[in-house]
């Protein structure tokens, strides 16, 4: 299946914006991806092996976090996985004062 890589992570995929990776589940696809491009692993996953909180993963148009089987979700060769870091911010100084 094709995995679409966001701009900041393409430095770890040799500049490729789309990478074709085999696998029967999302987890298998991620294993293949990080085997092929080892430096991606620490960019995508924390020390516990979980996706970093700001890394969003979409299977076609579905947020992986809300799929019932999450990383164990089966995939087809025609599916597409998109990695998309979050975008947020603002003038509030921190998360403790969102309503100032």
């Amino acid at each position: 299946m094709n995995i679409h890589i966001p701009t900041p992570l393409r430095v770890y995929t040799g500049g490729a914006e789309t990478v074709a990776v085999p696998g029967a589940t999302v987890a298998e696809v991620f294993d293949q991806l990080t085997s092929q491009f080892p430096e991606l692993k620490q960019q995508l996953f924390n020390a516990e092996g979980k996706l970093r909180s700001f890394v969003n993963v979409y299977l076609n148009d579905e947020d992986l976090r809300y799929l019932p089987s999450k990383e164990a979700t089966t995939v087809a060769a025609t599916d597409e996985l998109t990695i998309i870091p979050s975008i947020a911010g603002g003038t509030a100084c921190c998360s403790c004062c969102p309503l100032l």
Partner: protein
């Protein structure tokens, strides 16, 4: 250096005026090379932080997915983002820094003072990871001669 047409530059500033007193946000599509990033199109995005839109912004991930698809179809890349600071300086805040994850991309901030766009600054997120990232000031070069195509919206 961030290269942007006058039309796009004024459009992102106007977006901040339209959403005042709330923050606006959007995406910069273009190409990067040794001279910096060249913005070819700006895409307005919705601010999902309706609970605190006057001092926070967030772009829905699914909207980003669609914008990234749009960029791919145009053979462009996401090279940066923009947002406004209503009645605050055009400087990155601790929240902006904490929530910045697109290393190598530009973060353009426009101060909107009493509804009028004032200073616009750009900051390049540099580094190699969350642990060593930092914002550096990025000069903006405004191209007044380039004619641009009508803008799309995701």
């Amino acid at each position: 250096m961030l290269h942007i047409t006058y039309t796009d530059y004024e459009a992102l500033r106007a977006h901040g005026e339209e959403t005042y007193p709330n923050e606006c946000c959007g995406v910069l599509l273009g190409k990067s090379d040794a001279e910096g990033s060249h913005v070819r199109q700006i895409i307005r995005a919705g601010n999902t932080r309706t609970d605190s839109a006057h001092n926070r912004y967030n772009i829905a991930p699914i909207e980003l997915v669609k914008i990234q698809r749009q960029a791919r179809s145009l053979s462009l890349d996401i090279v940066g983002f923009y947002h406004s600071h209503p009645d605050h300086p055009a400087q990155w805040s601790p929240t902006d820094f904490a929530e910045a994850h697109w290393i190598g991309c530009s973060y353009v901030i426009t101060a909107v003072e009493k509804g009028k766009a004032a200073t616009t600054n750009s900051f390049l997120l540099t580094g190699t990871s969350e642990e060593d990232k930092k914002f550096v000031d990025q000069p903006i070069e405004i191209d007044v001669a380039t004619l641009t195509q009508p803008k799309g919206q995701a």
